[in-house]
């Protein structure tokens, strides 16, 4: 079991706000890690620390055996890390196809334009956006933009994929499709960290789960362990209001 990503004591502050406190975990190759926690727990911030958007104040991040704690986002991309954004970031005035070609051209495999064209077409079919490839990205709806984020990330043929709430805002049949897509991605041997609010989905696809609360890592374990963990139930699942909110989002 080789460790693909190792996060060691990562701490991140925004002014007086402690967004992450000594987060530590190892992610073996080929696994899906679910990352859960209430809104504002620091999940997106952890992604931002891993992929170089905000370098952490303390701690180390080791990816594919290399120290990458202060690496730039493009360095991480070229090393085989891809991510989606919770708030979608389409390249509006480019076509859907061109958006995905950017992923293929500048990711770790560094493809030529004509190769990227083929990869983009294939990936767009895979995520179900094939018929939209000539449209401008700006013209997609939110669910389609989430798929576009996914397609761009996949087109780079990453080793590690960070998915930030790809199910949020989708209806139940769209969620079903997306979960199937995530499983198919795993079958391709891609390691995944998945931030998700839809409990059923995340329990269903994850090998392990890590729970954040106010930047603290309050639990880590298999889905069964997490669903029975006292701290988690208290801080997160047990809170009646939050549970209600989560159900609504579902």
């Amino acid at each position: 079991m080789t460790v693909l990503l190792s996060v060691q004591g990562v701490t991140k502050r925004f002014g007086g706000l402690q967004a992450l406190t000594k987060v530590t975990f190892d992610l073996p190759e080929g696994q899906i890690l679910g990352l859960i926690g209430p809104n504002g727990a620091g999940k997106t911030t952890l992604f931002n620390a891993i992929n170089g958007v905000y370098p952490p104040e303390e701690g180390h991040i080791i990816f594919r055996g290399q120290e990458v704690t202060r690496a730039k986002t493009y360095t991480m991309a070229r090393m085989g890390l891809a991510r989606t954004h919770q708030i979608v970031q389409p390249l509006n005035e480019l076509t859907v196809l061109e958006n995905v070609m950017v992923g293929a051209c500048f990711g770790q495999e560094n493809h030529s334009l004509s190769n990227a064209y083929g990869i983009a077409e294939e990936v767009l079919e895979f995520v179900g956006l094939g018929i939209r490839s000539e449209q401008l990205a700006a013209s997609l709806n939110v669910a389609q933009k989430k798929r576009l984020e996914m397609a761009r990330a996949l087109a780079s043929r990453p080793k590690l994929l960070l998915l930030d709430e790809v199910l949020a805002g989708l209806n139940s049949s769209e969620i079903g499709n997306m979960v199937e897509t995530v499983k198919k991605i795993r079958e391709r041997g891609i390691t995944i960290i998945m931030i998700e609010h839809v409990m059923k989905a995340v329990m269903n696809v994850s090998d392990r789960i890590l729970v954040l609360d106010y930047g603290q890592q309050i639990a880590e374990g298999t889905p069964e362990e997490i669903s029975q963990n006292e701290k988690v139930i208290e801080a997160y699942l047990g809170d009646p209001k939050l549970a209600e909110k989560l159900l609504k989002e579902e």
Partner: protein, 323 residues
């Protein structure tokens, strides 16, 4: 995508420029040649600026600095060291490219209005430098030794030759513009224009890509500067670094359509036509620049994508032809 389709967008730009080049040749008219020279110069400069403004999304208000600086360097070697116009142009292009490289490292990290302001500052600083640099003649500038033209068969022949060289430079600018746009490098630039942070997350090394875009957008203007000052027979600081020309270039690119190959060509054409009318009209001749300012304002307010961008949006089938 078939490879010929990729180059379909080059057809119209080539035809338009070929038309401008052939017009004075067919009519055999010296004043038509002067007009055509002015239009070709505008096309070459606007197309170069478009690489930075239209493809990369960085607004350079002082792009004329590369024309002035390259022109000075080239003319200096032609005049004081007896270099041929070819070698002089090469020197001017390289000098401007190096200047852009160094400036790029320093100011391309600025975004939006900060970058635009910095480019204005650089143009003014360069003008002040030329004013005080004795090797370039200080405030008096440089006057070309008339005997230089002898090598090209006299002044009349030399002037004729500059027209053909200008035509060559315009075609070169156009080809660079097209090949950047249809390359992987160009896709990276477009991604930066749309969302620089997202582009970097996808692996585009934005600092490098932006610097090379800046360099590419500076080389042709540097060569054009050498050619124009050679043709004029002299250069002085206000002629080399006119801020209003920078703004006119922006108007051309925005008018025709930033980020397309054809847009800056049509924009340069239309703008020069309008300008020709304005400067000869009694009413407008003193406020010609104000009119340009108003035109820029109207474009930004009502057709921010420019004429070609507007057409591409309205009629998607045209996208292949109007690249």
């Amino acid at each position: 995508m078939k490879s010929w389709q990729k180059h379909l967008g080059l057809v119209l730009p080539l035809l338009v420029v070929a038309g401008v080049v052939l017009w004075p040749i067919i009519t055999d008219n010296v004043s038509a040649r002067e007009s055509a020279f002015t239009i070709l110069k505008a096309i070459a400069l606007a197309s170069s600026l478009n690489i930075l403004l239209g493809y990369t999304g960085y607004v350079s208000f002082g792009h004329i600095v590369f024309y002035g600086f390259g022109g000075y360097v080239g003319l200096y070697f032609v005049n004081d060291h007896g270099w041929s116009i070819w070698a002089g142009m090469l020197a001017g292009g390289i000098a401007s490219g190096i200047l852009a490289f160094l400036l790029g490292k320093a100011i391309l990290r600025l975004r939006g209005a900060y970058f635009a302001l910095a480019t204005i500052g650089i143009n003014e600083a360069m003008k002040a430098f030329a004013n005080n640099f004795d090797l370039f003649g200080g405030p008096i500038g440089m006057v070309l030794n008339f005997s230089v033209y002898k090598a090209y068969g006299g002044a009349a022949e030399a002037l004729k030759m500059t027209f053909y060289i200008m035509a060559g430079l315009t075609f070169a600018a156009l080809l660079i513009s097209h090949f950047v746009r249809s390359s992987k490098f160009g896709l990276g630039l477009l991604a930066i224009r749309e969302n620089e942070d997202a582009a970097e997350v996808m692996g585009v090394i934005a600092p490098n890509a932006k610097t090379w875009a800046y360099v590419l957008s500076a080389i042709i203007p540097g060569m054009v500067g050498v050619l124009f000052f050679f043709k004029n027979g002299h250069v002085e600081p206000p002629v080399a670094f006119p801020l209003h020309s920078s703004i006119e270039l922006l108007v051309m690119v925005m008018l025709g359509g930033q980020g397309t190959v054809l847009g800056p060509i049509l924009g340069a054409f239309a703008y020069q036509g309008m300008r020709g009318y304005l400067v000869t009209s009694d009413f407008f001749k003193d406020i010609q620049l104000s009119v340009s300012g108003v035109v820029l304002l109207l474009i930004v307010l009502f057709i921010p994508a420019g004429a070609i961008g507007w057409l591409r949006h309205r009629i998607p089938v045209l996208r292949r032809v109007l690249a």
